[in-house]
Amino acid sequence: MSEPVIKCEAVYKIFGENAKKMLQDSNGNVDAKTFQENGCIVGVNNASFEVSKGEMLVVMGLSGSGKSTLLRCISRLTDATGGKIFIEGQDLLQLNNKELIELRRNKMGMVFQSFALLPHKTVVENIAFPLQIKGIKTEDSISKAMDMVKLVGLDGRENYFPRELSGGQQQRVGIARSLAVEPDIWFLDEPFSALDPLIRKEMQDEFLRLQDKLQKTIMFITHDFDEALKLADRIAIMKDGIIEQLDTPANIVLNPATEYVRKFTEEVPREKVLLIGDVMDPSTNDNLGDLKVLKDEIIENVAEKILTQEKSVAVIDNNNKIVGSINPTKIINTVFGGRKNNN
């Protein structure tokens, strides 16, 4: 496998005056309580993970769990107190100011919860802003920005000011702006949290469409577990600055690592998250029905078909090869039986 695009090694972020010294003294065993007694607040506590190219990592947690802080450490909007962060092998914390600006101008894009558009610029000027900052000629930057306007479906509104747009439209501008420099790494900080539920769903679909087309390396922050499940390749669940579990959606639902993660997964509609492959019986027997289902199908989509069968159903992979079987009772247990069967 190629080198990971983002790599974090034991990253700490501690707010407070003598945070650095306290971190050194603690030898990596950071206890939030003792730090708090000394006037320090732990934002990120020993985060280590990798994100590979084209992958979407969703960081999930309640407010105050440190997820935004983690993102700001990786984009170096704040400096991490300890640990190492590598962006495509480059040590982020060793970069000087100039190199950092270069990196941001070419490799990184970020979308914000409150959109953070510049109120004095029109839609197209907002989108062209990062390009102009780079020193690209006004004409070129505007024509490039117009492409972006079309990409996010705002054509016809390019000369509007942010104050004249709805929340969803404003966030489309934010997305277009972050994509204007064609970054490899895309940070999204709760991009849809400030939107209405209906618009949010629309924007999620839009976002998936874009990602399908662009294949960026993404870190996506959210406090909405459903959103995380819908979008993520992998999910990191954070609590009090600690990454409680980092795994695929299915694994998080099926095998929650801690009590905290379990609480989150309890209410999740499993049939919408799990794939046939996640729950199938890998052993095959001959006593199978005629129906064949794809391994990568979401349970919800095929549950009805399977449940009408009396026998077990064959599970095939993309090459039409039988890789396992699934019994209708298994489906019922998965959907209605809750945890008992799966643990």
């Binding site: 970020m110 953070a116 004095h120 900052i133 780079k134 104050r163």
Partner: protein
């Protein structure tokens, strides 16, 4: 005992008052005490004692320390004065090349800097003045061989008033719309017809120099303070003092440093106008959501790009509100600077008031007020104007205002040219209406004043006598009767009860400064006049505010009235009261009351308005009637904001009391006025200004601390 436990604060206050009065009665008035205590600079009196500090003799009347503290700071004004003179005339002599005599001359550094600065300012003012009023010698100096000598042949006429009037109307139209354009045009026509053109343009040129410079300095310092905590901490106390320092008092040191005239006035105006600009810049930059800053950073901005492409445009509105403040301060300073010889409307006003020509004063005052309103409305309109997209407009649409202006310039010139034939041998009224050759209503007003005096003299006099004899003099006597120690105990005790030990220490320091200065008695008189004004203003303001609040339209109307009145330079308020009450303390107090009622009313309405609608609904659903809603819901919640209004009322009242010295009062202001005409007055004027500022700051500290606590308690921010 039960009661004490139930209302601990109340009993603490009672205890404080008991101690205060006990002290008052325990300490007798010394037999040698006379009002007007020894001033360091006056002739020696046999009752005076003296001490020597840093080689300076400081004289004072010796009293019991409980009665009045000795003027331990009496050396301060003398010392400031001497240091200033030393700085100006002796410190760091450096050789400078003299262009005229073609040789090196030795001059002290500060003097040279001050002279150069003065020359530069004079040049700027002259330049703008000559554009507006004619005689383009300054510009032509650029073309002269040595850049200094003016070419005598270069004498150009100024802009005809028609062009300036049309130009300001077009500008107003662009900024706001037809209404303001009409107003701007009418104001300009009024100015011209009433022959106030020249002084008005002189004042305007003063503002056109002072305001942009103040803006640049204020913005720069504001940005510096935003970026560095250290700069902010260093600036903070200066900003605080400048907010409560009477503008009048700043004039005095300017005299020494820069001499008399427009240039000195411009420089000192900048000193006064920069602090509000700094404050609003910091405020605006702070109010930017952090995500916008992060977005800028993630777009790859370096610090410079972040500041000028992201932060400042985002904070545009607050910064432009700062510009509005700067313009208004500059304007009111332009009027007050008449005291140090600035030309223009203020000078005419001062002259007219000195001659007791109320009619002329009224005309000048009206002119000042109209320009003030116009400037205020225009700069506010600029701040509130939102950028529009103009890429899809045609060339004509985009530039129509400039084109219109060009057309009016041509028409104006033609008109002026036609005028030379029309008014052959007399003044060309289409070019410029000369001063005092316009319509004047002064006689009418003067007759009116005479009539008022003739008709109502008895009543006015009776009112005057009653007020002075039965209210003011007893009150003044009471204030002066307070032993210094008792006053300090009262103030510090109040500080402790309101804000704890920290507040008590701050307040104690401020009070001690005044007590140790040689002007404690004068400060008491200032305090008494301000107190009287504040009490009456608050009663009127709170009542009017509450009444107006009952109806949405009357509330907005009242706020509009407050807006307009607030734009008038404080000096203007003296005109009508002098018209009615002549030269008495009553006049000053009435001016104080009128001026200080503005913030009291405004903050009352704003406070009542800020009560959340949800609470109104909740109260209505609980079945309260209007009166209950006012007393149980609105007043308690609006009270903190109303107290901030009180704070402003105090500051306004102090300003007016000090300016009232012009009419003749016996307080700190009188000495500031004296210092203005005293060659060695710089130190005294400055120290007096600080004393007044500190009186304001004592109340400011107490009220703000209380309000913050109260707001936290109520959970409103």
């Amino acid at each position: 005992m039960e009661l004490i436990k139930k209302y601990p604060k109340l009993f603490q206050w009672l205890f404080l008052l008991i101690v205060f009065f006990a002290l008052c009665f325990a300490i007798d008035v010394p037999e040698t005490y006379k009002f007007i205590r020894g001033q360091a600079e006056f002739v020696k009196d046999p009752n005076q004692s003296s001490f020597v500090f840093l080689g300076k003799e400081v004289r004072y009347y010796a009293f019991d320390v409980f009665w009045r503290l000795p003027p331990l700071l009496g050396w301060l004004p003398i010392w400031i004065n001497d240091s200033l003179f030393f700085l100006m005339n002796e410190w760091m002599p450096i050789e400078f090349w003299n262009e005229d005599t073609q040789e090196f001359r030795t001059r002290p550094l500060v003097l040279q800097i001050s002279r150069n600065l003065t020359a530069f300012m004079t040049f700027l003012i002259e330049l703008i003045r000559e554009i507006l009023l004619g005689g383009l010698e300054t510009i032509v100096a650029f073309t002269s061989w040595d850049w200094i000598d003016k070419n005598p042949w270069a004498e150009l006429p100024g802009l005809p008033w028609t062009i300036v009037a049309a130009g300001s109307a077009i500008l107003a139209y662009k900024l706001s719309g037809k209404g303001l354009a009409l107003f701007a045009g009418l104001v300009m026509v009024y100015i011209s017809i009433f022959g106030q053109w020249k002084p008005s343009m002189q004042t305007l040129s003063f503002i056109l120099v002072a305001a942009p410079l103040s803006f640049i300095f204020g913005l720069g310092l504001g940005i510096a303070a935003f970026k560095s905590k250290r700069v902010e901490k260093a600036l903070y106390p200066i900003l605080l003092v400048m907010q409560t320092m009477p503008q009048y008092a700043v004039l005095v040191p300017a005299l020494v440093l820069f001499g008399v005239g427009d240039h000195a006035a411009v420089i000192i105006t900048m000193v006064v106008a920069v602090p509000p600009m700094i404050l609003l810049t910091i405020l605006g930059l702070r109010a930017i959501p952090p995500e916008v800053i992060e977005a800028g950073r993630m777009s790859g901005c370096n610090n410079w790009q972040l500041m000028f492409k992201v932060l400042i445009p985002t904070a545009r509105r607050d910064i432009l509100i700062g510009v509005n403040q700067v313009i208004m301060v500059c304007f009111s300073m332009a009027v007050i600077s008449a005291f140090i010889g600035a030309k223009g409307l203020g000078f005419n006003l001062l002259l007219a008031l000195n001659q007791l020509n109320i009619g002329l004063a009224l005309e000048a005052g009206l002119c000042i007020s109209l320009i003030a309103i116009l400037l205020d409305k225009m700069s506010l309109a600029w701040a509130n104007k939102q950028t529009d997209y103009f890429g899809n407009l045609t060339f004509f649409q985009r530039n129509k205002n400039i084109l219109f202006f060009a057309a009016t310039v041509i028409i104006g010139i033609i008109l002026a040219y036609v005028g030379t034939f029309l008014f052959k041998g007399s003044y060309n009224y289409l070019f410029e209406v000369p001063h005092n050759k316009g319509i004047s209503t002064a006689d009418f007003w003067n007759k009116g004043v005479d009539w008022i005096f003739d008709t109502f003299f008895v009543y006015i006099k009776a009112f005057n006598t009653w007020l002075i004899q039965d209210v003011l003099q007893p009150m003044r006597a009471l204030y002066l009767r307070m032993p210094a120690v008792a006053t300090i105990v009262l103030v510090v005790g109040a500080g402790y009860l309101i804000g704890g030990i920290r507040s008590a220490l701050v307040v104690c320091g401020l009070t001690l400064f005044i007590a140790f200065s040689p002007w404690w008695d004068r400060a008491l008189v200032t305090a008494y006049m301000a107190t009287f004004g504040v009490i009456v203003s608050c009663i009127i303001g709170f009542t009017v505010g509450t009444l107006c609040f009952q109806n949405k339209h009357s509330a907005s109307f009242m706020l509009g009235v407050c807006d307009i009145f607030q734009t008038f330079p404080s000096f203007v308020y003296l005109i009508p009261v002098m018209m009615l009450f002549g030269i008495t303390d009553t006049s000053v107090l009435i001016a104080v009351i009128v001026y200080a009622t503005i913030p009291a009313t405004r903050y009352t309405i704003e406070g009542l308005r800020s009560v959340p609608i949800g609470l109104h609904d909740a109260a209505t659903m609980s079945g309260v009637n209007k009166f209950q809603r006012l007393t149980k819901i609105e007043f308690p919640l609006a009270f903190p904001h109303m107290m901030l209004g009180l704070n402003q009322t105090i500051v306004f009242a102090l300003f007016m009391v000090i300016i009232g010295a012009f009419i003749g009062t016996e307080d700190l202001g009188q000495y500031i006025l004296k210092a203005l005409s005293d060659k060695k007055g710089a130190g005294i004027g400055f120290t007096l200004g600080i004393c007044v500022a500190f009186i304001g700051l004592i109340f400011d500290n107490l009220i703000r601390t209380w309000v913050e606590k109260r707001k936290k308690h109520l959970g409103i921010n």
